[in-house]
């Protein structure tokens, strides 16, 4: 039961091969048995999950079911869940129980999906290895000495280890795509504004976007159907109409023009990874696509631009964590200043503090023009680069990451080399485009991800290409040997 796609589970629930309660029990047992070594969940509420499953079974029995009714899903612990702790991977929110659901959670609940639990993540989604979590690092199911990527590392690891059939993540600079690549699963970061940010703890407001993480492009499409749509309570959510994201999956891709940015295949890309990506591109070519070399000439400015804008926004988004109304508060503050400084000193980890400092500096009087304003100008150039490319091609493809998953601790003392992990993913967020990572082979038994980048609101096209690729390959069906056979 646990090694099936969401699409297969939906069919199983409908033809009554099993109930949602049985299915949910199965995944809860797997979490209980296997997650100790992975640490992919921060919170699991078995009782609530089983109650939701029972309710879903009633809906299924009454033929009152939505597409995802009864499907267990793991949610990144960045989405506020009514009555269930939402920590965002931080000591600051270790005691925070929201009195409301994020719009995304509401939508899944309305569908009748079952929340299995809340997944581990880098603190406030700041990190590329899931080592900055207050709840400890997550381990990669393919090799527990490796990081799962981040910041949605818990979601990626949980899906890869078959502890959940699918999960939600968020992606501010690669936080869905990079862990999806490292864990050998499929992840989609939709167009900025496609999925509501309401109730999602903010990291960098102009970059944050929620998306699905699952075994296949088809599953991602099924989840996106539930997630996407305008939310009047999020002013940046798009009024652009949604569509059935599964509708185009079966379309042939012959004649598709795929752009390969030469900047994504040059220095810094690991050779073996490059080999896997080349093979994947040949596969797409074999399916009828045309490969076209394109250029994103401002790619070298992506990291500095991102690391001004994202920390600047984060530095003020995180100001609300002051110990006054909720969350961590230091013991016995002597005055207001003490309350602020000790609360934040204790509540935030090093990476979060680093970004608050960087961001505060970038916005300071006298530096604003040189940093924040300049970064916004470059951001426009980066977006223009993509727009030029999309005049020639339908999608852009390349590696998701410069190399496969690295060992725990390998980069945790070197922030810059950690930031370089996201060199191919950051620009997509800066430009607000949809991007995917699709399993595309292995290097030394470590998964490699192929990144696909589309035009604004062209998720259907990305999912279509990924699905066609997955029809022709079986990388997305590979399971980590160590845990695939676990409980149940």
């Amino acid at each position: 039961m646990h090694d099936r796609t969401v699409a297969q589970l939906m069919a199983g629930l409908r033809d009554k091969s099993f109930s949602s309660a049985e299915l949910t029990r199965c995944f809860l047992d797997r979490i209980g048995a296997l997650d100790e070594q992975l640490n992919s969940f921060i919170s699991v509420d078995e009782e609530a999950a089983l109650a939701a499953a029972t309710a879903a079974d009633a809906r299924l029995a009454a033929s009152d079911a939505g597409a995802l009714t009864g499907i267990p899903i793991a949610h990144k612990d960045i989405f506020c869940t009514d009555g269930m702790r939402t920590s965002c991977g931080s000591r600051m929110l270790d005691n925070f129980i929201p009195p409301y659901d994020a719009t995304l959670i509401k939508r899944f609940n309305a569908e009748g999906a079952v929340t299995l639990g809340k997944t581990n993540m880098d603190e406030f989604a700041m990190g590329s290895s899931n080592e900055s979590s207050y709840y400890g690092p997550v381990r990669n199911p393919w090799d527990t000495n490796l990081v799962p990527g981040g910041s949605s590392g818990g979601s990626a690891a949980a899906v890869a280890a078959l502890l959940a059939p699918a999960a939600t993540g968020t992606d501010t600079g690669g936080s869905i795509r990079q862990p999806a690549a490292f864990c050998g699963i499929t992840g989609l970061k939709p167009t900025y504004g496609r999925v509501s940010r309401l109730g999602m703890v903010a990291f960098a407001s102009s970059l944050d976007q929620a998306g699905p993480m699952a075994h296949s492009a088809q599953d991602c499409a099924l989840l996106l159907n539930a997630m996407a749509g305008h939310d009047p309570l999020d002013s940046t959510s798009s009024p652009e109409p949604t569509e059935d994201y599964t509708a185009q999956l079966a379309r042939q891709i012959d004649g598709l023009r795929i752009g390969l940015p030469k900047e994504y295949f040059g220095e810094g890309l690991d050779n073996a990874t490059a080999g896997q990506i080349d093979a994947a591109l040949k596969e797409l070519e074999a399916l009828g696509a045309t490969l076209v070399e394109v250029s994103l000439p401002n790619s070298h400015l992506t990291i500095p631009t991102y690391y001004v804008i994202a920390p600047a926004e984060a530095s003020t988004n995180l100001s609300r964590f002051d110990g006054v109304r909720y969350g961590h508060r230091c013991a016995d503050p002597v005055d207001l200043h003490d309350l602020y400084t000790r609360t934040r000193e204790e509540g935030f980890g090093d990476e979060v503090k680093r970004r608050i400092l960087v961001g505060t500096y970038a916005l300071s009087a006298g530096y604003y023009d040189a940093y924040y304003k300049k970064a916004q100008q470059v951001r426009r150039l980066i977006k223009q680069d993509f727009m030029h490319c999309f005049e020639q091609v339908d999608i852009i493809a390349g590696p998701t990451t410069p190399g496969p998953a690295f060992a725990l601790g390998a980069k945790s003392d070197d922030p810059v080399s950690m930031y370089l992990e996201d060199v191919y993913t950051l620009a997509v967020n800066l430009a607000g485009l949809p991007g995917m990572s699709v399993p595309a082979g292995f290097v030394d038994d470590k998964p490699v991800g192929l990144q696909l980048i589309g035009r604004h609101f062209d998720e259907s096209r990305l999912l279509n290409v990924a699905h066609q690729y997955q029809q022709a390959t079986d990388w997305h069906l590979r399971r980590p040997a160590s845990i695939a056979g676990g409980a149940a």
């Binding site: 929201p98 940010r197 109730g199 995180l318 006054v324 916005l363």
Partner: protein
């Protein structure tokens, strides 16, 4: 030395929307602490602002009301600082691209002269909550009911030269915004709060002196006192050869003094940057034009019309046009009685006098415009004298009904019957032999004064109801 005071005012105007600027919470004043604070107002994690369109409309109406440039694309910014009653750790405000740009504003002084005061800009922002330091046993309480209340911050040019002008400016502003219906202008509830930027310079100098900013002055009277006090303070320093420190000061109404809050040198760096959770406000010409069509006749326009249409003096017209309700009341009285000058006089002297004495708003005035017009009509047709009319007005104020009913019930109708008056005049002359003698001996000039005695006696005899004009005529005839 002769010093010139240079003043610029920043007014925080609370807009009269039902709900907050970025959340659906109500803005009603005086509710129990934190009962009008939603998850958005509390800055709970993941909460996002949604702009209240009515706040935009009100801001544009204000811009049109002062003939300002309207920001067709205005942008919200975050103003970052930590304070316990600022839940997000930043205030959403407008910095580089305000919704209202440069405009101008006419004020009128006591002597009837007018001056134009420049408006630099007006921008939308959210209010903070309140910190309560009493009743919490050495701790502070935070009330976030006010957090997120829409404000329009109206910044004037340093065009104001005296406390009198400052007050005139605020009164004119108050009048304008209540005309527009965009604010209740209630200063005691904090709907209009004022920061005063004030500096001194030698009379005739071109450059500005160093200014101090006096925060949160909440009544016209306090504005006047604070400016006077600050003038004295700065003049003393300058005359002793000292220099003014640029700083923020607080006006203490109890002690009538200003004192330093914080020096601008150590002031916060607010790290303004565009608010990424909100889109820029983009409006088009048709939006602005539709609002322009909705503009009511504004106070200055109404004043000018009163002068022209009713022949009123500038000052009177200004008083009557001060509020829309009063102006409407006045015009209803004019319509009912047909004499604008007497109507203006009654409204200003008797009506406003009674309202002020009773500390009443016009809305709760016991005398309707129709009844006041009815009273004036009786003066005009000589049914009663002006003096009796005041009695009748008093009775109307007590709720005794219309002027006619009161005149009838109390038998106050003026005596104009010549026979009746003649017998009264005769009686007075008969009983005033000494005065008659004195009168007849006097020259023309003195007689005019002396006749008053006889008039008074007749009025007394008639209990004030004799027609004074006819009495005068009769006396003139009889005392030959």
């Amino acid at each position: 030395m002769q010093w010139e005071t240079v003043i610029g005012l920043e007014v925080h105007l609370q807009l009269a929307t039902q709900s907050k600027i970025f959340s659906g919470s109500p803005t009603t004043f005086g509710a129990q602490p934190n009962t009008q604070a939603s998850a958005v107002d509390l800055a709970m994690p993941g909460m996002l602002p949604v702009l209240n369109e009515k706040a935009v409309r009100y801001a544009v109406l204000f811009g049109l009301g002062i003939g300002a440039e309207i920001g067709m694309r205005s942008v919200f910014d975050r103003k970052n600082y930590f304070y316990p009653d600022l839940p997000k750790g930043y205030q959403i405000s407008q910095f580089q691209h305000p919704i209202v740009g440069r405009g101008e504003f006419e004020i009128q002084l006591e002597d009837g002269s007018t001056r134009n005061i420049g408006i630099t800009r007006a921008h939308l922002e959210e209010d903070a909550g309140k910190s309560l330091h009493e009743d919490y046993h050495g701790q502070s309480g935070i009330d976030l009911n006010r957090a997120g209340t829409p404000l329009l911050e109206i910044v004037s040019e340093p065009d104001i030269r005296s406390a009198e002008e400052a007050v005139a400016y605020l009164k004119a502003l108050h009048s304008l915004v209540t005309y527009l219906g965009i604010s209740d202008g209630n200063m005691s509830e904090g709907s209009m709060r004022c920061d005063i930027n004030i500096s001194l310079r030698p009379m005739g100098a071109d450059t500005l002196g160093t200014r101090a900013e006096i925060k949160n002055v909440n009544s016209f009277r306090f504005v006047e006192k604070a400016i006077h006090h600050e003038f004295e303070r700065q003049a003393d320093i300058l005359e002793d050869g000292g220099t003014i420190v640029q700083e923020t000061r607080l006006y203490d109404a109890d002690k009538n003094e200003t004192r330093s809050m914080r020096s601008k040198e150590v002031a916060n760096d607010y790290r303004y940057f565009p608010e990424p959770d909100l889109l820029p406000i983009v409006i088009d010409d048709s939006y602005v034009e539709a609002l322009r069509q909705q503009l009511p006749e504004l106070p200055t326009q109404k004043r000018d019309r009163f002068v022209q249409q009713y022949g009123l003096g500038n000052y009177d017209a200004n008083v009557l046009a001060d509020s829309r309700e009063l102006a409407d009341y006045f015009e209803a009285v004019v319509a009912g009685c047909g004499d604008a000058k007497i109507a203006a006089n009654w409204v200003q002297v008797e009506l406003l006098g009674q309202l002020n004495r009773g500390e009443l708003e016009l809305a709760s005035c016991p005398v309707s415009a129709t009844n006041l017009a009815g009273l004036i009509a009786r003066i005009l047709d000589n049914s009663i004298s002006g003096k009796i009319a005041k009695q009748v007005f008093e009775a109307m104020w007590q709720g005794e009904g219309s002027a006619d009913a009161i005149i009838e019930a109390r038998g106050l109708k003026q005596v104009s019957d010549s026979g009746e008056l003649e017998s009264m005049v005769d009686e007075v002359i008969a009983n005033s032999a000494a005065q008659v003698e004195q009168y007849l001996a006097a020259d023309e000039g003195k007689r005019k004064k002396l006749v008053g005695y006889f008039v008074g006696q007749v009025m007394k005899l008639s209990k004030g109801q004799a027609n004074p004009q006819m009495v005068n005529q009769l006396l003139a005839k009889k005392l030959q």
